[in-house]
Subunit: 205 residues, 2 copies
DNA sequence: GTCTATAGTCCGATAGAC
DNA sequence: GTCTATCGGACTATAGAC
């Protein structure tokens, strides 16, 4: 039991999805092939095809994990905040208050902006899926639409919140396409400005 | 001479680039193959390869034409404006005044936002180039960087202007990736709001 | 669960006729 | 300037051993 190896450190499925993201970031969506993914993950093509029987399944897996990860991270942060400060004190131990729409908005913007530098492949699933088949994006549009409808109810209204989301998206998509020309310093200035703008949507009408 | 046919209506090179953009929009960057482009343009693969000897050359041609088109359209609008109103009157016939930085900024934002609905493939060259080889994007980054450095000198300063450009870019890139969930009405509301924000960068410090 | 081997298709590019 | 024919390689996917 001593020094028991934490193997597998990460499920095989996730390691394969990591490899797929890596390939797209390093070589571009065109070179996302089963061979390349298998090689980058250190398994054979047959091993990859056991977990994802088709390339289509691999792309859907990439998209699904991306959305799950973002939602889970937002939920986790909201929960730890509610549990740690107001929620616990207000509702008693073990109960957490339902987060407000405004908190959900701020936290999501923060997650999107802060996540990227740590994980260069953040959101790359969307680029890969769009490159492979534009019809894949219907799911993403619906997801985005739902968020939009929810956040349009903030005091800032549709235009203000949509504009903030548009700018956040602009930064992330540009980075995904290797199109972003900003220095790290400039980027953090812009991130701060975006978070400020997001906070204004919560309160100012 | 009467009813002389305007043939070729459009140079073969441009028809091939149009076809390449069409393929990417309709099928995704992964399916941008020489076969698909040739078929969509109504020529054989050999005919395509006469004009673009490699796929690389085709992608570079797509990128180059995109930037040329945008720059030319901005210049044309500035010229017609200067010639039609102030420039001509101020400087006399045949002479036009050099457009101000603020005019260049507003006009470029307007071109980017207005062009897209008329030409669904607007900017799709960048998606295709990024998918094929991320290193292609160095040119695009440099181009974008130069604009940024120029427009940061506006009264609005770096952050304000960069945020506007980010939001414009966010809208365009989302549309290129089939990710934009906005109705036409919502889109024109956002476009108006963006143009208003751009105009404020010109004046308000 | 992971591997090798291989089938069948599609890719970019070349050569040469017209 | 555009075509057909074709090569060698890379692609997705299957079959079956271990």
């Amino acid at each position: 039991m001593y020094f028991r190896q934490p193997i597998p450190l990460r499920p095989a499925r996730d390691r394969l999805l990591d490899a797929a993201e890596r390939v797209v970031v390093e070589s571009g969506a065109t070179h996302l092939t089963l061979d390349a993914v298998a090689k980058s993950a250190g398994v054979s093509k047959g091993g990859l095809l056991y977990h994802f029987p088709t390339k289509e399944a691999l792309l859907e897996g990439m998209l699904a994990r991306h959305f799950q990860d973002v939602d889970a991270e937002v939920a986790k942060r909201l929960e730890s905040r509610a549990g740690g400060i107001s929620g616990r004190a207000r509702k008693g131990p073990g109960r957490t208050g339902k987060p407000s729409r405004a908190d959900m908005f701020s936290e999501r913007v923060r997650v999107l902006l802060e996540w990227h530098p740590e994980r260069p492949a953040f959101g790359v699933a969307m680029v890969a899926a769009s490159a492979d088949n534009p019809e894949h994006m219907a799911v993403c549009r619906a997801q985005y639409r739902a968020l939009l409808d929810e956040f349009a109810k903030l005091p800032g209204g549709f235009e203000r919140t949509a504009l903030v989301l548009l700018a956040v998206q602009g930064l992330l998509l540009a980075e995904l396409l290797h199109l972003s020309p900003y220095t790290p310093e400039e980027r953090s200035r812009l991130v701060k400005a975006l978070q400020r703008a997001a906070d204004q949507c919560r309160s100012t009408p």
